[in-house]
Amino acid sequence: MLTCKEVSYLASKKLDKKLSLGERLGLILHTAMCGMCRHYVRDIEVLHQLMLKAGKKGQALLPDSAKLSAQSRERIKQALDKALHANDKTN
């Protein structure tokens, strides 16, 4: 009989790769008897699906309040100006 720890590993691996017959049977047997692991398996599947969906939709995930700091914005601006200026010279 698999332990809960082994089941948590297989439940995660199952989201990335087809499990072997033995692994699948072990998972089914264990979750048939263990409510906690049933919850766990279901939860990480929900997590997986919602993240994939958000990623496909191109959702930002980070709030709009996450912005470049004034300092880094200035630094980037200067780097760009310098590069633009260099382009002028070569043209």
Binding site: T3, C4, Y9, D16, L52, G55, S69, I76, L80, L84
Partner: protein, 187 residues
């Protein structure tokens, strides 16, 4: 429809924060995300003659950012990551007792069905991800958000074996599930 580029002086103003958020969500380190914005805009400057107009300016810039991000992951050498990975893999998850049984109690969350609930769920999840070590968060984002294959991630992030990759991914999913358990049900 054929898109046209605006003048490069405007790129930072128009797209800077969007590019920053895109990078930060995936690399999880503010300084790195800032550098990525700079590298992206500089590369865009050089590449603007090749712009075909098939994608919008923003999509084009994000495409360049993705390449810069891949370069960043490649540059993290095995020496830098080995220690973190070894420690993580050697330390057993705190959620199990010696016999491999759960030593925390939990129930299942209610699955967020409505789009408003899903928005809230993602907000809580984002907070949970931001508390992870950067490397774990990067791994999770590449796998779940970017839908990059396991093989690609292993190679890109110099993870020494597929088995280690699955252990790390399993660990990060467990941590996030736990964090959501504490913060989402009550949200």
């Amino acid at each position: 429809m054929v898109y046209e580029l605006s003048s490069p002086e405007q790129w930072l103003q128009t797209h800077g924060d969007v590019l920053y958020r895109f990078g930060l969500a995936r690399v999880r380190e503010p300084e790195v995300a800032e550098d990525l914005v700079q590298e992206t805009l500089l590369a865009a400057l050089k590449a603007q003659q090749n712009y075909s107009g098939k994608a919008s300016e923003r999509t084009w810039l994000i495409g360049i950012l993705k390449h810069k991000m891949i370069d960043y992951f490649r540059k993290q050498t095995r020496q830098n990551t080995q220690e973190f990975d070894d420690e993580l893999l050697n330390n057993d998850a705190e959620y199990f007792d010696q016999t491999g049984h759960w030593q925390i109690d939990f129930s299942s969350w209610s699955k967020p069905d409505k789009s408003v609930e899903q928005e809230q769920f993602l907000q809580v999840l984002e907070q949970c991800i931001s508390r992870l070590p950067a490397r774990m968060a990067q791994l999770f984002m590449l796998r779940e958000f970017e839908d990059m294959s396991s093989d690609e991630i292993c190679q890109l992030m110099s993870i020494s074996s597929m088995n280690n990759f699955w252990v790390m991914l399993s660990r990060v999913r467990g941590q996030l599930r736990h964090c959501l358990d504490l913060n989402w049900n009550n949200a």
